[in-house]
Amino acid sequence: MIAREKGRKGITNVLGAILFILAIVALTSIIAIVASEYNNYVRSADYLSNLERERSAESLYFQYAAGNPLKLNITNTCSSSIKITQVVVHNKTSNSLVVNPIASIPIVLNPGMTEYNYSIGGVDTASSNATIMIITSRGNAFIIVVEGGKVLFRN
C-alpha cells in the first residue's frame, strides 16, 4: 500500500504542474494580445482626433494679385502648417475638370506665411467662368469662384 501511494503522488504532481502551466499560458497570452490590440486602437483614435482637430482649424486667406492669368496671394492664418497638394479647376464653360494647372505644387505654408502671386494657369479673370479648388493634405478644399470678371473668395 505504501509503495503504490508514493508512485501516485509523483504523477499527480507532474499532471498538476502541466495543467497549471497550460492555464497560466492561455490566460496571460489572451490578456497580452487584447492589451496590445487595445493599445493600437487607442493610438489610432488619438491619430484620428488630432487629424480632425487640425483639419477643422485649417484656414487660408486669399487676396487678388493679378488677372491674366489669375494670380493670388495666399496666407496661412491658422496655427499649424498647411500643405497645398492639388489645385483643381472646374471650367464651367466647357464643363470639364483640370487637375493641377500649375507646376509648383505641393507647397507648404507655415503659420502666418504668405505665398505671393500664386498663379492659376488657364484662368483669365475677365473671360473665364470657373470654380477653383485649393486642396490641402488634410482633405480640405478652399473654393474660389471666377465669374463675370470677378473673383469671389470665402475669406
Binding site: 497560466i24 494580445i33 490590440e37 493600437n40 493610438r43 487629424l51 472646374h90 479648388m133 486642396i135 478644399a141
Partner: protein, 141 residues
Amino acid sequence: MLLPKKQKGVSEVVATLALLAITLVAMAIYLQGFNLYYSGETGLLSGIFRSGSEQNYERLSILYAFQNSSGLYLLVSNYGARNATIEKVVIDTNVVSYSPQIVQAGEVSLIKIDVSLASASVHVVSLITGRKNFVSAEFRV
C-alpha cells in the same frame, strides 16, 4: 551506497525556476503562433480592435461634385493613412451600380458614376468603403 532520501531529485528552488522558464518559453511560442494565425483583420480577439483602428486610419472626404453629359463626377480626397476602396455609392436612397475603386492614401481621385440627376435640386451622396466607413455630402448639380 544509496544516497540519503533528501538528496534525491531537484531542490524546490530549482524546480520553481525550471517551471517558470518552461512557462515563459511556452508562452512565447504560443503568443508567436497566435499572432501569426490572427495577423489578418478578421481574427477573433485581435479583430475586435484591429478593424476599429483600421477604420480610424482610413479618412475620405468628398470635395466637389459636378455633372456633365457623360455622368456624375465626384472629387474625393483620401487624407488618411490607409488606401481606401470605395465599394458602394448611394445617391439619395438608391444604391447605384459602381465598380470598386481604390483611392490611394494622400491622393485626390475623380470618381465617375453613371447616373443622371435632376439639376437644380439637392442630392445626398454616400460612399461606403471596404472597411465599412462611410462619408456623405450634400450637393446640387
